[in-house]
Symmetry: C3
Subunit: 445 residues, 3 copies
Amino acid sequence: MKTKYLLPLAAAATATLLPGLGLAQDAEMSTAPALETSYIFTTLLFLIGGFLVFWMAAGFAMLEAGLVRSKNVTMQLTKNIALFSIAAVMYWLVGFNLMYPGDGWMIAGWLGPFFAITSLEPVGLAAEAATLDYASVGSDFFFQLMFCATTASIVSGTLAERIKLWPFLVFVVVLTGFIYPIEASWQWGGGWLSEAGFSDFAGSTLVHAAGGFAALAGAIILGPRIGKYGKDGKVNPMPGSNLALATLGTFILWLGWFGFNGGSQLAMGTVGDVTDVSRIFANTNMAAAAGAIAALILTQVMYGKVDLTMVLNGALAGLVSITAGPLDPSLFGALWIGAIGGVIVVFAVPMLDKMKIDDVVGAIPVHLIAGFWGTLAVPFYTEGTSFGTQIMGFAAIGAFVFVTSLIVWVILKAVMGLRPSEEDEVNGLDVSELGMEAYPDFTKG
Amino acid sequence: MKTKYLLPLAAAATATLLPGLGLAQDAEMSTAPALETSYIFTTLLFLIGGFLVFWMAAGFAMLEAGLVRSKNVTMQLTKNIALFSIAAVMYWLVGFNLMYPGDGWMIAGWLGPFFAITSLEPVGLAAEAATLDYASVGSDFFFQLMFCATTASIVSGTLAERIKLWPFLVFVVVLTGFIYPIEASWQWGGGWLSEAGFSDFAGSTLVHAAGGFAALAGAIILGPRIGKYGKDGKVNPMPGSNLALATLGTFILWLGWFGFNGGSQLAMGTVGDVTDVSRIFANTNMAAAAGAIAALILTQVMYGKVDLTMVLNGALAGLVSITAGPLDPSLFGALWIGAIGGVIVVFAVPMLDKMKIDDVVGAIPVHLIAGFWGTLAVPFYTEGTSFGTQIMGFAAIGAFVFVTSLIVWVILKAVMGLRPSEEDEVNGLDVSELGMEAYPDFTKG
Amino acid sequence: MKTKYLLPLAAAATATLLPGLGLAQDAEMSTAPALETSYIFTTLLFLIGGFLVFWMAAGFAMLEAGLVRSKNVTMQLTKNIALFSIAAVMYWLVGFNLMYPGDGWMIAGWLGPFFAITSLEPVGLAAEAATLDYASVGSDFFFQLMFCATTASIVSGTLAERIKLWPFLVFVVVLTGFIYPIEASWQWGGGWLSEAGFSDFAGSTLVHAAGGFAALAGAIILGPRIGKYGKDGKVNPMPGSNLALATLGTFILWLGWFGFNGGSQLAMGTVGDVTDVSRIFANTNMAAAAGAIAALILTQVMYGKVDLTMVLNGALAGLVSITAGPLDPSLFGALWIGAIGGVIVVFAVPMLDKMKIDDVVGAIPVHLIAGFWGTLAVPFYTEGTSFGTQIMGFAAIGAFVFVTSLIVWVILKAVMGLRPSEEDEVNGLDVSELGMEAYPDFTKG
């Protein structure tokens, strides 16, 4: 839970610790950490969590580079490093202040209240000058920025192999500077969704489904890759060029997810908080494993052969599924929630193909559909939440992100054009758009 | 050292710190961390150590994918992500409780005492309700699980390119649910080996040699790859398809090993403990470097050419060698212990080939033989240990793991069959078993 | 800032915290961490920072393996793992003591004061016996060692594809054992440069430019690759064989840099210090993003096509640029400093080619030239520094490293010979020098 204003329902248990913390000021012989020590621990959680989520940017880059054909690898890599960089600038320039609008941290800069320069603490902050019950703004900004970037990473996979570089990057500017911060603000900025009782601990809806909806809107406007769907309704497989990279990317994402979910505890300065972070790590790992195993068994049963790309996406779907509520479930809870995520992927990937929505890496099943499942599953373990509110929140964010994204894609299509020429697409974007092959020494079949 | 019951010999020095800790309760002006702070630090050590050891799963996947031929890469990747996922479930379902049988943490679940659901702490644990002298169960479970998974990772490399997917995965079920937890329990669960004075700080024997023995049993039952050993006694080299991946995997493993060895200090809440963790980091790095340099020089001297795969395995052998005792040696001690590990690999790899034991990635030299060396070397630096007890412990665990593994492999061979058809093996397991190439865009020579 | 003797200018602000720390001893109800807690935090910073900078060794290996042609990949990988291993041994054997000559930690060993075995703390250090105002020697040694290794990593990229293995490794011995420790000692060892007011927080000059100067000297003595520069002045592109690896390497370096710069705060035990570390993380990320975006836009504008390798090097140049002063700038400061780093790369790469200095991966623009820029930029934000002193310090270190490196290269050329035969170079070093291809299953174009 990330709101800084409300005490979310899932965190209610933490409140029981406050007396323990208060004890430090009353008792003669306290065992509790000093206030400054708590501040250091929570700041450290954000720094570690933040660099782990940063690492997910590399995971998406490798996953996507491995799942596209070799003629589009340079382009996919370029999009991934560029989108992260753009997110880093836009979230600073606009996003952070837009997402936490009531925040005292916002310093109205030379461009007005929204276009403000985020002001970090002064160098060598004195302990007396700090608000010791949270963490440093710098660490929080660093951590939150990574979630914004993740949202954009999801989009690039779906739209791979057929979208030009610059319209994609312009969309990233809008997504990371405006669309994501606004919808995330509704919950984590203390907005109306959090007031309504919606619960999304680390972002099954706010990050993953949001990225999935932006990708879905793009996929509809953009249309499928040339040759993907035959006139006879046949789906032509376009296998990824490097499954070792795709597997590496999945492992990187799995690793980064410990920071994604664990860091979202937003506190590590008490026994209760660090124990909760531990629960989250264990549950996150379990959900990923269960998602992978579910896809492993299911593809064997359904197709007679295990499908590695489904296993990878199964692990990722397990991770997305647990992200809305990684704290409260038991390990068994994480197992079945994650396993259903893996099942979803195996059924949703061919379903999208039937609808002729071309999702190159399976990001919509993994992030949007499993994100819905994870959001829906929260009330099984988290008191004070309801299926109705969860569906309502998901629908609200989905509608907002989908519609705004659709508008942006339509405008970009009209103004810049989204697709390269047919010839360029067939030749591959690496040569036609960038003039640089990813694997120039290897002849292609 | 991982036992939670005994105060191991190597940790005796830590006891001298207890007065310092006690001081916090007596002195008016204490410099010691509060008890809760110590708990947070040690929990954090497990979380950081745990995600670093998790990362080793990616390291094994990349190392093995790089060292097999391109026609078996998808299979090797599938095995690696599947084995980790299975280990995650089996260690939770059976292993953790089996490994720490006297543990008060075990909650008898719906399936009886062994098949129990590990119960983590409640959400928002109150400090008063916690046992503050160790760490959270969730973090400990997360950390220990990774060691169980590592044991299975070792097996997959040796048996690559010729074993079918499902019998391998069934073996992983037995290994991670039963064989590993039982033998590890003898030492880290406070069992008879730890009572006998055996010393294995982070698992040269319990993890690495155990994995190596399971792999050896498999390699004997399975036999070599078709064409590996000619009738004239000639060994046919089957070079790995991607040495960049293999090198990446080695670097990943090296990085993960800081968590593997450092986290095994099992405490970070005092000056003495964190300083010991630092010693372990420095020694671990030194042993890896020395192993790599030893293999570098030795292959130059013996063959007139440096052999990169030997250098990579030399680094890994250095790491395995220091794992039984990474705390007590000086940096010079870590250097020569690691260097001998590197030397072992250069001699053991061709030796295995002479015995016609086909170990695709060199896991038996690296993990079993260097694991023996590391276990044997402990008494050079650790007081209270003896060469006799070290050999005895290694032999006991080796015999148990080898015999039980052999039985499982024989049963699996009889029931499921271990090997694909000759034709399928020659065509590569990717196409024949999985129907999916790892690098479909690149023509093969 | 890394000196242990002087209170550097940039750290002056920290001094304002000392009263806060002192408070812990006076006030009846202190909020400050206990002294031992501070020691644990700072030691932990070095351990986390250290493993992140270790990870940069993998980053350089992947970046360079991706940017050389496929016929030289095995060699490049071999050089990278070997140079790290050599640095680990040489920095222990000579470097650390040479770099901190006045250090009480130095134990004169069996080889005299310089060739001394670094003595870590005893196992189970008692808190009373520790110097609690810093961190454990083991963690500090571990952290500092990684900087020494980084310096050597920079050299290998520039000289790729045309230098024999062993003369390169001998150079690494001299660089990591002597040249780097001596010049780094001038600043971080409390030497004359730090007394003169030079400021280099994490090593834009001491690490990056130093590596760049050693590489430049080597490139001049070695000459360009065969066929790189045509007789008509034409520059023949020799595209890298695997841009996915190069991108992965860049992401790894970016991740590791959080440890590189953040750990160089050298303290995490107070609110002020951990908040400063957070600033550094946020600034480091911003500079990298800005460097990437600058190169992205500039290559589009100048060449009509985005150049991925320039974007990657732009991100790295942004990182190098902020390294001399990652603490004091605002986020906007980090943005423009990093962006200029990215611009520098786009102009410097072709400039070097005009000078017929063949720098295979662009290490000289990234590390030397952007390193100069980063060093020069410090006075914009850091009080008490001056452009003159910054230029003087850069020139002093540059001259020392360049001249000593040149001498070593000339001697190595005379004694061992630096280059393989023309035929061997054309065939690729993998086959001719090592007899082992990196990608043997893939036919080459």
